[in-house]
Every structure is written in structure tokens, then in C-alpha cells.
Symmetry: D2
Subunit: 356 residues, 4 copies
């Protein structure tokens, strides 16, 4: 490394996304973590909260309210919704770039954000210029951005899975279904009874099928991709595991799609993601497993087309697996940072999945 490292700060480093950012930035070849803040834990050593960091990290949490972030090159917000947008004006004005892992900058139309998250947007003008941090769909915009809104974990799988079909205009955009399952880490490090091992272990259930906020984020972005409104049913489920997210997507082929062979569908996806370092389009008919992505920034995709009652089926299924904390959160954020700073896109993201 010939250049001085990028100075990175993390606001709100006590949750699962925060510690994941710390884990990956600590071994990033071009980054120096200089500041990590917490409202509640100011003065606590990081390795006291996360014993996994013992011996590898001497940092202490600074107070979010008073920490000087202006000397950072980039600040990651691993906070609740609403925090990043409150700081954005001040920090960008002194040249600090912002990557928000919450929802503040995920919506091109800030009024949807306001309706869904039930809070006024603090900086609608900055929101105009913010880039949506899904690198594979949005690389150029990110490269130019001062602010990146990192996508939700579920939306990443749904967009990367539906995008090639919608762009090609071969499916009914009004009846998309995404049946998804997530490990518990997606719910965050919250002391709630529902997330106890005794409640969530050996259990499976759906939740929020009629009103999850990721539905609005995804539907809005898919509509841009399709160039037409989309209808999306998004049914998230909780699976009894720590990490991992699996989305089973269903799209009905339209007349143009029905004449396509399975090979042509497969080629559509392989072309769409050729050269992408973190997208693995598996052979037709494969089954991506969440564990094959554990701890890494890879997202795997496989296509299926179940037979219909009279032979050739009219529905294409897209199976998508990722680690919700990496490609679904911290890893994607670092990937965006790499793009913003002109680093190799895979810098700091080369770890292989942990198996078993």
C-alpha cells in the first residue's frame, strides 16, 4: 500500500452490523479505523463488548454526540433510521463521505421514506444526490457519490434476483412474489423475548407479510428497473439460525418470456452478472445454500422453472442466498466504499465463507 490509508469512522458500533464492519475493516488493506461511536457505551473498550476482538483492537467507543468525525474520510452509520441524515449536511460539507446502513438514503423519493418510516426527512436535497448502494446495479452513481444509502438485506436479494427478468421485460411485473427466510441476526442485537434461543430456536414462522418496510424500498427500485409499476408480495420468515438469508422468488412469464428456453433464461442471468466478483450465477437447477456464503460477500443465484399442469411451466423461480450481515449489510457497504474511493472492488472482501 503506497498511499496513506482511508480513515474510517463507524457511528453506532454496538450492533451486529457494527461489529461486522469492525471485523472486515480491521483487515482491509487500505483502511484505518479511527473512530467508533456509541450513545450508550462511550468509554467502553470495544473488546469488552465483543470478546471476539480481544487482542486485535484497542479502540474505545467515543460518545456519538461529541465525537469529532470531521477528520474521517468516510463514516459508516450502523444506527437506527434517522441518525445519518441528521449529520449528513455537516459532514459532507467538510468532505466526509457517508455510507448509511439504515434507511435514510434508500429512497429516491424522500416522501416515500417519510410515509414508510414515519419521520420527516432531514435533508431532502442531499437525498437527491445520494446513491443507492447496490453496486451491481448502480456502480457509476456510487463512484460519484458523497452519500450512499446501503440497501436493506432482503431488498438486495430481491433486486438482484428480479432485475434481469424485469429489464428483459419477460415477466408480469404486477405479480411478483418473494418468499424469504432470514437468520436471527437480521433482527439485530435487541433484548426481546421473541429472539431468545428458547423462543426462536427450533421454530419457523412468517412475519410482517403485509407491511414490511423492505417491500416499499424494493418495489420502488424494481419499478425503476422495469420502467413500469410493479406489484410485489414480500413474505419474510424467521429461520432458526444466526446468519443467512434465502429468497425464493416467483415471476410469471409473459408471452415474450414463455417462448424463451431455459438456456436462454440462464444466459440472461449469466450475461447480467458476468464479471461481477460477488455474484455467483450457479448452473440451472442448482440450490444455493445460505451456509455457502457464511461470513463472505458472495451472493448466489440459481434458476428453476417448475413444470405446469400441461408441461412447460409459466413461472420462473429465482433462488438467492447471501449472508445477511455481509452482502446484506456490512460487506455491501465496504464494496460501495471501495467503489467510491477507487480501490479494487474486492479489497478487504476476499475472505472465503466459513464452512462448515
Amino acid at each position: 500500500m503506497n498511499f496513506s490509508p482511508i480513515k474510517a469512522g463507524i457511528v453506532g458500533g454496538t450492533g451486529y452490523t457494527g461489529v461486522e464492519l469492525i471485523r472486515m475493516l480491521s483487515t482491509h488493506p487500505s483502511v484505518k479505523l479511527t473512530r467508533i461511536t456509541s450513545r450508550k457505551e462511550a468509554g467502553t473498550r470495544l473488546d469488552q463488548m465483543f470478546p471476539s476482538l480481544r487482542g486485535r483492537c484497542d479502540l474505545m467507543f467515543s460518545d456519538t454526540a461529541t465525537a469529532d468525525l470531521a477528520d474521517c474520510d468516510v463514516v459508516f452509520y450502523a444506527t437506527p433510521h434517522g441518525v445519518a441524515m441528521a449529520d449528513a449536511e455537516r459532514l459532507t460539507s467538510v468532505g466526509v463521505r457517508i455510507i448509511d446502513l439504515a434507511a435514510d438514503f434508500r429512497y429516491r423519493d424522500h416522501t416515500i421514506f417519510e410515509r414508510v418510516y414515519k419521520m420527516p426527512h432531514a435533508c431532502p436535497t442531499l437525498n437527491q444526490e445520494a446513491a443507492y448502494g447496490l453496486v451491481e446495479l448502480n456502480r457509476d452513481e456510487i463512484a460519484r457519490a458523497r452519500i450512499v444509502g446501503n440497501p436493506g438485506c432482503y431488498p438486495t436479494t430481491m433486486q438482484l434476483g428480479f432485475a434481469p427478468l424485469l429489464r428483459a421485460g419477460i415477466v408480469d411485473p404486477l405479480h411478483l412474489i418473494a418468499n424469504c427466510a432470514s437468520g436471527l441476526s437480521g433482527a439485530g442485537k435487541k433484548a426481546e423475548v421473541d429472539y431468545l434461543l428458547c423462543e426462536a430456536g427450533d421454530n419457523f414462522k412468517a412475519y410482517n407479510v403485509s407491511g414490511h418496510r423492505h417491500q416499499s424500498e424494493t418495489a420502488a427500485r424494481l419499478a425503476e428497473i422495469a420502467g413500469t409499476p410493479v406489484g410485489l408480495i414480500f413474505a419474510p420468515h424467521l429461520a432458526p439460525m444466526i446468519r443467512g438469508m434465502h429468497s425464493t422468488l416467483y415471476a410469471r412469464l409473459n408471452a415474450r418470456g414463455m417462448v424463451m428456453s431455459n438456456d436462454a433464461l440462464q444466459a440472461l442471468f449469466e450475461d447480467a452478472y458476468r464479471g461481477e466478483p460477488f455474484i455467483d450465477v450457479m448452473p440451472w437447477g442448482s440450490y444455493p445454500e445460505t451456509r455457502s456464503t457464511r461470513g463472505s460477500n458472495v451472493l448466489r443465484i440459481a434458476l428453476h422453472r417448475p413444470p405446469g399442469p400441461d408441461g412447460q411451466g409459466d413461472t420462473v423461480m429465482v433462488l438467492v442466498a447471501q449472508d445477511n450481515l455481509v452482502k446484506g449489510a456490512a460487506g455491501a457497504a465496504i464494496q460501495s466504499m471501495n467503489v467510491m474511493f477507487g480501490l479494487p472492488e474486492t479489497a478487504g472482501l476476499t475472505q472465503l465463507p466459513l464452512s462448515p
Copy 2:
């Protein structure tokens, strides 16, 4: 109990379905387990294979080939497919009733069985008179039957979930989707790498989405219910848990369905299952959890109707949860036995779910 107990035999008692039958029949007030057979374990005490039975069961496995089952009143087959049909003629001719937990008697049309399971049917004539053991949909037929084909675990959830909608003729029967997740016990007690804790733990994946045999069983039975052919995509998934099955069903409302209110849809299900001791129609918008059924014969159902892009959604979702080894297998078989022998339908099936 004033009458002599029903003498029950189990063929193939070494798997998970077998031990579950033993667990429940051992405390059934009107049954005496008299014979349990195994091809491989003849001469082994049951409690040596299943330490959970120590002190509660003195039986030994008999040899399947030579065991005299003719003195049983009823014989349960917890065997691979093909075993029950080979015995059926001989046993029914001496008055023994048969409940097969494999697929031999699940298809009204034995040629579908032959195509799907790739073996000739040994007794097509007996298959004609066999009843399909889904008590809630088929009670009278079971009461008269000498042979019952116990439904597959997934098909139970799909049929009980779709039946009210299809009977009412308010959904498109050609585009049903069932996105299901099962615990590992559904795969049986097989020494395969894929089912090791290190492989299946902390993991989620789909399997067999284009050709699971339960698709054919379900589609055929749903077509009978609907009185018209059905199209069914059945996408099973493996969740990292021991017991539990959760099905998320999607049906597109047709014109008659679209005018129904959510209350009317809810009433449709409540009416369909009123008085059923093992079906719990939960309040509209609930989320049945698999763990709320652990170890018991209950099956829980809840309805949802996610909004569409322009308001009122056109898809009804049915969430169904059960214990795959109980209502999905051994419990359902005992429920059928109770009906066949004129016992109270809940006899031996009154245990509450284990929680947590």
C-alpha cells in the same frame, strides 16, 4: 375402558415415524402395542435403539419377514414405499386393518403412483377401496375403510390450506404456489452427509422444487376437491430444526374472490373447520409458529391478504404450521385409527405441545 384394547402392530419401527407411533400409542387409552417389526433389528430391544423408551417399553423388534401380524387388529406401516401393498391382500383377508404411512395408498389412480414412485402397484383393486387418511376432508370414507393411505406431511398442510378456497371456487386453480419449510426429521433417520448437524445446521436451502413427489399427490387430491385440474408449484425448503413444518400458500383470487371481504374469507375457513379438534383457525393476520405445535396433533392456519400496488390485494395467503411427525405423520395415522374403530377422535392425542 370397558372393552379389550385394540391390538396394534407397527412394521418398520426404527425410524422417526416409528418411534413417534410408539410414543403416542404407548399412552393411548384403548390400544395395546403387541408387535413391532424391523428387517435389520430383529431381536433388539426397542429401548436399546431408543433410549427415550427405557423403563417404559419391554418390546423387542420382531423380524419383519416372519412376524405374525394376523393377530393384530390394525397394523401401521412406517416403512419405505412398497412394503404395505405387498402385505395388504393377506392381512385384510383375515380382518386386519392397515394404515400405511408411506405412499402405497395415497393415490386414487394407482397409475400415477406407479409413474411417480417408479414401481408397479401390487394391489390396484385394494387401492380402489383404500381411503385417503386426511380425516378433516375424508372422515366418512375413513370410517368405512379397511386400508388407509396416510397423507404425506407437506400434502396435509397444502390440502387443508387450499381446500376451503378451491371448494368455494374463488381462486385461480391453475396457479397455486406452496412455499414450504420443514425440519430435518422429515428427511428421516438416514445416515446421509446432507443431514448432519454440521451440514444442515445454521443453513437454509430449497430442494426438489421441480419434482417433489408430494406435488403429484397434492395436485391430484386438490383437483378432486376443486372439481377441476389444478396447477401447483410446490417449493420445499430445509430449515435447521428438528421438528416443524410451515407452509406459506399463495392463491390468486378470481373475480368472485376479489369481491369478498377479508372477514368473509376468514369466515370461510372458520366454517370449514368448525368443530375440528385438531385444526386451529387463528385470527386474521396471525402468524402460526411451528413450535406452537411441537409434539402435538394440532395444525394451525392463518390468513393474510397483502395489499396490491393499487390497494386491495388480489392474492390470498394461507400460513399453515404443524409438527411434521405428528399431524404430518404418526398423529394423523392414529386419528384415522380412532375413526376406523369408532373411538373418540382425540383418544391418545391429547398431549399439549411442548413449549418451549
Copy 3:
């Protein structure tokens, strides 16, 4: 059942011990659950808090402060420590028997309770007459008691494992070691970060090895059994499972013990527990698994004697497994109730373990 059922109340029915009492008492042939109280949940239906009870239980939580428990025959306290002793005087004076699942009546010497639990004992006189609810060691006292202090979960395994050795005087009583592991349900239904699936899952750790309160309870009771002071190291560990408790006990054989053969040691345990319906002394050298007790009141014991550097070892190991919520809590309490009311000791406790 020719007699009117026993009217049972539960104070503090919202935790794991509470729901387990409900599960087992609901199917007890001689008990009618008449009242369940909660400080926080008064007015809530039980099945709203515990979906596993839906369709099987119409009770509502009463307010602990105002509920009239005087018309109960027996009241179970599934509360924090200190609640039962506050009610004991009032209820026993009107003939209600009390079974406390907390620590209020676990110590013969109430001053130890006061020191360990850091609260004054509310009724030292009643404590004198309270029986310690370990039926296998204390059956007669329990039969006569108005108040029973149900043992802690760990102490049950340690006492039943060490008792035969201490009674026989063949081990060094001053250097006992109990290395134990428990599932998470032992920690209760508390919204604490440490017990989240993401924190406790796929993890193993020790806790409280120098000061767990069950050490004092066990040491005091073992001293009574031994007739001499005992030294006990008790090292509890958390294992990533819902239910189950496994204790690995080590005792150094003294001169009298060293001359005993392994057969003689085995006979010692078999004699000690002959006829006990819930104690399973397994063959020498066996390995009891916690899952073989899941959901049932059985406790399994097996003996080992690892070789020493010069042949015959001088340490006897006792392996003990139980379900911490059943034999370690609710099941033991019901077993005591059966003894107190002259019922068959196994009444309501005949369920077989859930396997797998």
C-alpha cells in the same frame, strides 16, 4: 376418577416453569387447574401468551395481588424467590398446600437462605416444617408436608448422583466436583441479550463457577446425607439447546471405596433407586443423553471409573441427565403433589420423552 379433582392454582404462570406446569396439569387425571395469576398479565388469556395452549385452555391470568387462592387445594409458585414465603402463613392457615418452585423453602437452615438470597426469610417457623421436594430422598417428609420447597434443577442431579456414594461413605466428601451443562430454558424467559439465539446459539461457556446459589443448596443437603460437611465445586455451563441438563460428577474413592468392584458400585446405585418410577440407572459405562428425557420426568444415571495412571482408577464418575423443566422443575413439583395428596406417584407424569 371417583373423587372430585384437586383444585390447583399457579402463581406466576408466565415463565417457562409456569407453562410447563400448565402443560402437565392440564392432562393430569386428578387435577383441575382453577386459577393462574400474573402480576403483569392480569386479564390476558393464557393462550394469547402461549399459542401452544390455543384451543386447549380457556383460562385467563388473574391478578396476583388480588386473586383468591384460598379455594385452591394446592398452589404452585412459579415466581421469583420471595413470593411464596410471603403468602405461606395466610394460605396454609386455611388449609391450602404450597409447592414453591423458587428457593424460599429449599434450605432447612433459613439463615443460609438469607445469606445466599440476600433477603430476610418471611416465615422461619413455617420453613421448619417445610419438606424438601426431592421425592426419591425425602418421600415420607413430603407426604406429611403442608409446604414443599422444590429443589433447584442442578441440585436434583447432583444430589441423586452423589447420594448413594455419600451414604455408603466410600468417597472423599470434601472434594466433590460437579461439572454441569444446561439448556437455555434454565435461564428463564428473560429478555436479556445473553440469551438471544445469536448470542447463545452455536456457543458454549461456563458461568458462575465460584458462586452459583445452587452450590449452597446442594452442599447443605449433601452434608445431611453424608452426615458430615462436604466440599463441592459446582461448575455450571450453558449449552446451545432449549431443554436438557447434564451433570458430570466426580468423586474420589476413599480406602473403603477403592476396594469395591465396579459391579459393587453399580449395585449400590441399582439398590438405591430400585422401584423408583422416574430414576433410570443405566448399565455400567452408559452415556445418558439429555434428549432421551425431553419433556418427561425421567432422570437417567450412569457410572464410569476411568483408569488411573497405574491401572484401577480412584475416581468414580456419575453421569446424570434430565429435562431441566420437568424432573428439574415442574415435573418434580407435580410428583411431590401426588405424594402429598396420596395419588399414584406417576399420575399425570406418564408422557414419554419426545424423540427426536
Copy 4:
């Protein structure tokens, strides 16, 4: 990196230790994986067996019988016992170094190996010069070695935990107790019923307490460290998790030990492991959690001294946690390789633990 990379081969790369070596060597800055062999999978792409490697590894399994390993600089044996010693003569004679992750070179006295593993040793002379790969206790010998016998997973925890006490001569060496728990990956990727998720999940049990082969390895090495015979009870247990190993060690203080303060005991360990990059001596009274080591080469140690019946206790407890597949296997092997080749000891081993 100015030098040409070390060419590394792996024999037997299809198990959990094999894939872990692949994971870590793939990102090692000074190593090039050139050859991976398998008896059964010759011709299979690695990423077909391990989807976690898709897109990151183009290697194919070679046939173990015919693969040319002579052009490797180092060969790792992740095979059953007995394979490495058969190749050792041939490979070392052409300058290839060998690191065996099986037991062939773990015993200084090859006759103990022969007795315990029930096979003749193929090269007792080479065994004389082989180094035992516990770097922290044996760094110099490893630096000079052509052959390294990598320690068993349990023995690593027991030796690093007991060594400072035995060296200081402050405990009774004849009555050491190691009560250990391991995740299932320690049992390897074997298709056995006992290791199924349904059998091993939600379960805890001991195994092999009287005759585990790691007892002999550990006792022999501890005797060298102590300079006197040792008596060791080693009681392994299976915990329902994928990775992680936790050892709870008990040693009785002798007269010299009894006068030591807790601070002095703590200093003993801190001095013993000062500067060791992979040993974390935690503050007195801490509780190392296995998950705090997940996927990394760190081993954490904490000391306790439970009170005795009359105050100051006479037993010191050492708690040790590691990832059994990393510090307990593949990571330790790479650490030895680094030492053998004069690389920085932490090269390729800098990943932080995965949390949660």
C-alpha cells in the same frame, strides 16, 4: 511478497479439516495451493464438493495414489491415521516437509501410538525427529523439523491449560481432570446417524470418558512438561453446535500452590503466554466463550479458584476455549508451517472471529 510462494499440497482434502486448510491457505500471502488429493473424489472440482469455494478455487482433486507431491514444499495430511507415515520416508527424502493432522507423529514414543491406534508405526526412525506441533510449547523444535505431528484438538486445550501449573510444580500431577465439550465438526464429515441434526441437535452427552485416544497423547506430553508421570481423567462431551471447543480443567493445588495468591496464579499464566499472538489470557474470573474464537486461530484462557468449605479453595480451574477446526486443527498446522518456513507466525492467520 518478494519471494516465490511456498507450494503446498493437501492430502485428503474432503473433510472439515481439509476444507478449513483450503479456506485459510487460499488467502495466505506466501502460499500457493498446488495440489489437493482424495482417494474417492479424484477428478471432482473442489467447488463442487464445497460450494463455499465457488468462484474462488479452480482446483480439482487429484488421485491420492498417483498424485505427484514431490514438487510441493510442504504437504498437509488431513487424512485418517496411518496415511502420512506411509509417505513420510519418500517425501522427506526429496525435501518435502510434512505436517500431519492425524496422529501418526503425535507420540514421541511410537510404541504408545501403536498400542493406542492399533497399527504398527511405519517409520519409527522418522518419528524420532518429528516435532509435536504445539508452537507455544515447542517453537524451536518445530522450526528445525521436517515433519510435524499436529496435536489433537482436545490435547491443545489441555496442554496449554495445564502446562503453566505443571511447570511450576504447584499442583498434584496425578489427579488432573479435564471436562471438555466439543461441537460436532470435531467428529468429522461422516455419514453416521449419531451426528445427524435430529440426533445431535438439542442434545448433550458425554462419550469415551474411559478411553479416548486424546487422553494418551495428552498424558504423555503433560508428563514431559511436568517431568513426572501424570494422572489425567479426560471426559469429552458433545455439545449441539458446529464449531467450538471448551475445556474446563481442574487441578488440586499442592502445599506450594496453596500459599499462592490468585494474583500470583494469574501472573503465572500471563508470563507463560506473554507475547504469544494466539493465546489470550483473560482477566481472572472471566468466562471464555467458544463463539469468541469462531473461525480464528485464537485460544482463550481464564482462571478461577472456587471457595472451599472453609474459605480459600484448594482447586484451581482453568477454562479454555478455541475453534476446534482452527487452533485445534488447520490453524495450528499453518502456524507450524509459518514457523518451519521462517514466515511471520501470524501470516495467513489474521482473520478475526466471526461474530455473531
